[in-house]
């Protein structure tokens, strides 16, 4: 084993208190995936361009591939695993992505939904342009984004209690 010093970290992930010792260089994404077995957030580029690793940290979207686990000490984290409704049913966003065909291979989806979740907190009634700008840190290779935009509009409408547009195609 490596003889690099281990640092204690303590944080809240999806409502649960977590305490571990980590190497200072351990990236948050590896900590989540390999220490906590939260494999929803993915690694797509390691350079913070693709957003597949997006998690919510203290109410902000962060790319966990370019955050050290020690930087998350004391933080409140939400990952895709913490997105479903308390009763286990799909959240408005998760349902929106399914209804509007906002995903295909599913690899970008956890980061995309996690980002959209925070986006709708920042701006509960986003325009299409605001949605497109708001998710521009998250890349998708499959969908061409059009249905992702619709999925987020679906969720916004559902959360705001307004009419939901028709399903995809």
């Amino acid at each position: 084993m490596s003889d690099i010093e281990q640092i204690p970290v303590s944080l809240t992930v999806n409502g649960k208190k977590v305490q571990r010792f980590v190497e200072p260089r351990t990236l948050l994404i590896h900590f989540l995936r390999e220490e906590l077995d939260l494999t929803g957030p993915h690694i797509g580029c390691e350079t913070s361009h693709c957003g597949a690793c997006t998690v919510d940290m203290n109410g902000m979207s962060v790319k966990s591939c370019t955050v050290f686990a020690v930087q998350a000490n004391g933080a409140e984290l939400t990952t895709i695993e913490g997105m479903a409704n308390p009763d286990g049913t799909l959240s408005a966003l998760q349902e929106g992505f399914r209804q509007m065909h906002g995903l295909q291979c599913g690899f970008c989806t956890p980061g995309m939904i996690t980002r959209a979740h925070t986006l709708l907190k920042e701006n509960p009634n986003p325009t299409e342009d605001e949605i497109r700008m708001g998710i521009s840190g998250n890349l998708c290779r499959c969908t061409g984004y059009q249905n992702i935009v619709k999925a987020i509009q679906y969720a916004a409408a559902k959360l705001n209690g307004t009419d939901i547009q028709e399903a995809a195609e």
Binding site: H30, C105, T143
Partner: protein, 806 residues
């Protein structure tokens, strides 16, 4: 019948069969982060492998010293070519009949080539150890320009081939030459050119790019030495082929190899081939006795596993003065990199590039492709297209525009004039294909009417006049593209991979309660097979799709198939599914006849069961029949209700479409804005329109990326430029245009359900639509052809060179 009896329409709707916009089964797990991708796998004792890679594009490797690396705590092993030679795996065969180094054997041929494989307790230690492996290189002259590959004094890239003047595809004429592939009638074509009123000639290049799925290539290899069994989980578009290859290379019997492709985060052709990472992980697991995980990073992905395109196409068209085309001549210089690892069916060194006559009735055509080596990464995969079909479509669609310009004809009118006519199908092309079906005129007319083509041309003319008068700095381009694809490889008479015919398969088992498990030889990477395959079965056997589970990717349980790429899943496996389902329905008919005490010929199929002709009240639903199959089958009949089908397609399928792109370009900044993009696709029978639309959106977005900026470029010393998402263009939601989709339906006459495949059409048709839009915009300033990719910098340069900057 009472009021509670569901109507025929209600029963049909309950099936969620073909034609239904069924919501995807996969989404339940994917939206909750519960997909199971390779890197999610965690096995007891698992260790990590990672590569030492070459910083040079061409060099001798004179020394590899792993002493310091092995001293690092947590490092388990460092493999080099010398170690692999012990198991005869320093080199591996490629799909194209060449051989490729697994680890550098005395030299390297491209930057980032695999030199040594470090195995360590975790990925961080593996990374540390890579820095400690000392490799000495002796630099060699670098060859990056394919046009210089066959120069007399070009450096010898492949000393291992010295003296071998016969390659896998015929004679080699130079030490850096791989093959020459010739199709068509040279004399007839020359005659057509000699007699032509008008000819055009242009070098049309399709630059090197990369499929770049969001999940990179990765695997976990686990050798159980006690049982003598190897399990490999990997990002495999063709898991069965990987197992066969693994068995042939490792000499482990095929039944003792378990290849499993779990959820895959996009493929687009990147995950068809076998890569050094897979081989090294397997060897490392055999050596260490513990599971070994290998995960490519993005830079490794973009710079080593599977580039696409890099075709340089000298295109000539002969025509009469009225625009009737009479001959096509194409010479392709194909840059294959350091090894020929193209993922094509074995007999097709340039894939199906001979679809290059496109949608047009060329009486004569001649094609010659020269494949050459350069100091670049190997690959040549079909990035969201059937084998080299997107290159062919780009070649002819650009060529037709150039011809239209010379003739002074409208490019849409020129296409209409030369389309293969509906009554000509099945159509024999001058380069050897039999197009199964098509109705090009109807599709084109519908597209032109919908987009308001004539009005757009009038607007463009007005804008050009305004530009000339100095009233605007914006110009307008209308990109016309009409493509014909060839997909569904393929018939065993001409398609195989390493000798295995390119059939596909399906197995369907109906349980006593009327629910179904089905397995196929294909492997979804986002196409939604779990959803759509169930829809085909639902329609065919009358059991709701919700009661049908689809499973792919496990070579132990799924029937053998050649996998998912080249839009082959629906044309080949889709047919196998329908035919397996029909076997079940045939048996069900006999069981129903026994239950109803009538002859099976007195029965007719009705949505979800059989009924007596003329007496619809006397019926047995499929669920009742399933129970009877296990409970009380007719005397003499085997119990159970299951079927397997292996389908060898009689022909390819030929999807087509009409795409239009309207673009506004600022000549002073080079910024091009896509105002409208309209895509009409004809993929025959539509299984799930929602998924088709989604596929079209995604393919168009990839086409947009490729045409407008995405490129793997090399500098003169062979440094790969832009091998990260910092530089490699992946459009975000902001740049991506809005897509308008449409369709016509011309079913394939030879496919059991008339389906043709669609996932790759938008990439094939989209790239020429974008490029033609840019080229069309600059035509009135005297331009004939501007090479892709059309990023703002290059468009600005084109504008400058044409004098548009004043």
């Amino acid at each position: 019948m009472n009021d509670m009896t569901p109507t025929r329409e209600q029963r049909e709707a309950a099936l969620e069969g073909m034609g239904c916009k069924r919501k995807r089964v996969e989404d339940i797990r994917f939206t909750q982060g519960k997909g199971q991708y390779v890197d999610d796998l965690k096995l007891p004792g698992m260790v990590f492998g990672d590569f030492v890679r070459s910083p040079y594009a061409h060099a001798k490797v004179t020394k590899i010293d792993a002493t310091e690396a092995l001293k690092l705590p947590g490092v388990i092993a460092v493999l080099t070519a010398e170690d692999l030679k012990g198991v005869n795996l320093a080199w591996m065969p490629t799909l194209a009949g060449d051989v490729q180094m697994v680890l550098a054997d005395g030299k390297v041929l491209y930057q980032n080539q695999e030199v040594a494989f470090v195995v360590a307790e975790n990925r961080y230690i593996a990374d540390d150890a890579i820095q400690l492996v000392e490799v000495e290189y002796e630099e060699l002259p670098v060859l990056v320009d394919p046009f210089q590959s066959m120069a007399p004094d070009a450096p010898v890239l492949r000393p291992d081939l010295e003296g071998k003047m016969e390659g896998a595809h015929g004679p080699r004429k130079h030490h850096n030459h791989i093959f020459t592939w010739e199709v068509g009638d040279k004399d007839e074509t020359s005659k057509a050119f000699a007699e032509a009123d008008v000819t055009v000639k242009e070098l049309i290049s399709y630059h090197r790019t990369h499929p770049s799925p969001l999940e990179t290539c990765q695997c976990v290899a686990s050798m159980d030495k006690v049982k003598g069994e190897l399990t490999v989980w990997g990002t495999f578009q063709a898991p069965h082929v990987i197992r066969t290859v693994a068995s042939l290379l490792s000499t482990i019997p095929e039944h003792k190899i378990h290849v499993i492709a779990p959820d895959i985060g996009g493929g687009f052709g990147n995950k068809v081939g076998a890569y050094p990472g897979y081989i090294c992980s397997i060897v490392a697991s055999i050596v260490t006795g513990v599971p070994v995980k290998w995960v490519e990073d993005r830079m490794e992905n973009l710079s080593t596993t599977s580039f696409a395109r890099d075709y340089h196409m000298t295109t000539e068209i002969a025509a009469k003065s009225d625009g009737t085309v009479t001959g096509l001549k194409v010479h392709v210089l194909a840059d294959h990199g350091g090894f020929d690892a193209c993922a094509d069916p074995s007999k097709w060194p340039a894939g199906f590039f001979n679809i290059v006559t496109g949608s047009y009735d060329f009486p004569a055509a001649h094609l010659e492709v020269d494949g050459v080596y350069t100091n670049k990464a190997p690959g040549g995969v079909a990035y969201r297209c059937s084998f080299r079909v997107t290159e062919a479509a780009y070649c002819i669609e650009r060529g037709m525009d150039i011809l239209a310009q010379k003739l002074g004809m409208d490019p849409a009118d020129l296409r209409m004039k030369n389309f293969i006519k509906p009554e000509q199908f099945p159509y024999q092309s001058a380069l050897g294909w039999e197009y199964d079906s098509g109705d090009y005129h109807t599709a084109m007319q519908k597209a032109m009417d919908t987009i308001g083509y004539r009005e757009l041309r009038a607007e463009q003319k007005a804008k050009q006049e305004a530009f000339k008068r100095g009233e605007t700095r914006e110009i307008m381009g209308i990109g016309v593209s009409f493509f014909t694809e060839i997909v569904g490889a393929g018939p065993s008479k001409n398609c195989d991979i390493l000798g295995v015919a390119m059939f596909d398969s399906a197995e369907i088992r109906v349980h006593p309660t009327g629910s179904v498990i089905s397995r196929m030889g294909t492997k979804s990477q986002g196409q939604g097979h779990e959803t759509t395959w169930a829809q085909i079965i639902a329609t065919e056997i009358g059991i709701p799709a919700a009661d049908i589970m689809v499973e792919e990717g496990n070579t132990d349980t799924a029937p053998y198939g050649l996998g998912t790429y080249g839009s082959r899943s629906t044309p080949v496996a889709g047919a196998a599914i329908a035919l397996a389902a029909r076997k079940i329905r045939n048996k069900a008919q006999m069981i129903a006849a026994h239950m109803l005490e009538v002859s099976e010929y007195d029965l007719e199929w009705d949505v979800d069961g059989f009924q007596v002709k003329g007496n619809p009240q006397a019926r047995k639903a499929m669920k009742e029949i399933a129970w009877a199959a296990y409970h009380a089958p007719p005397p003499g009949m085997e119990p159970g209700l299951e079927a397997v089908s292996y389908y060898d397609p009689p022909n390819m399928t030929y999807p087509f479409g009409a795409y239009f792109c309207v673009m506004d370009i600022d000549v002073d900044t080079g910024v091009a804005k896509t105002r409208r993009f309209y895509a009409l696709d004809d993929c025959g029978t539509r299984i799930n329109p929602m998924i088709i639309e989604g596929q079209v959106h995604g393919g168009l977005t990839e086409a947009f990326a490729i045409a407008m900026g995405q490129e793997i470029r090399y500098d003169e010393t062979g440094n790969v430029m832009g091998a990260s998402f910092m530089d490699f263009f992946i459009p975000t939601a902001v740049e991506t245009p809005h897509w308008e989709t449409d369709y016509t339906v011309t079913p394939s006459p030879h496919h059991p359900i008339g389906a043709k495949g669609v996932g790759e059409s938008p990439n094939v048709g989209g790239v020429p639509a974008f490029s033609n839009a840019v080229n069309d915009a600059f035509q009135f300033l005297g331009s004939t052809h501007i090479q892709m990719p059309h990023d703002a910098w290059r468009i600005w340069q084109a504008a400058r060179d044409l004098g548009a900057h004043g």
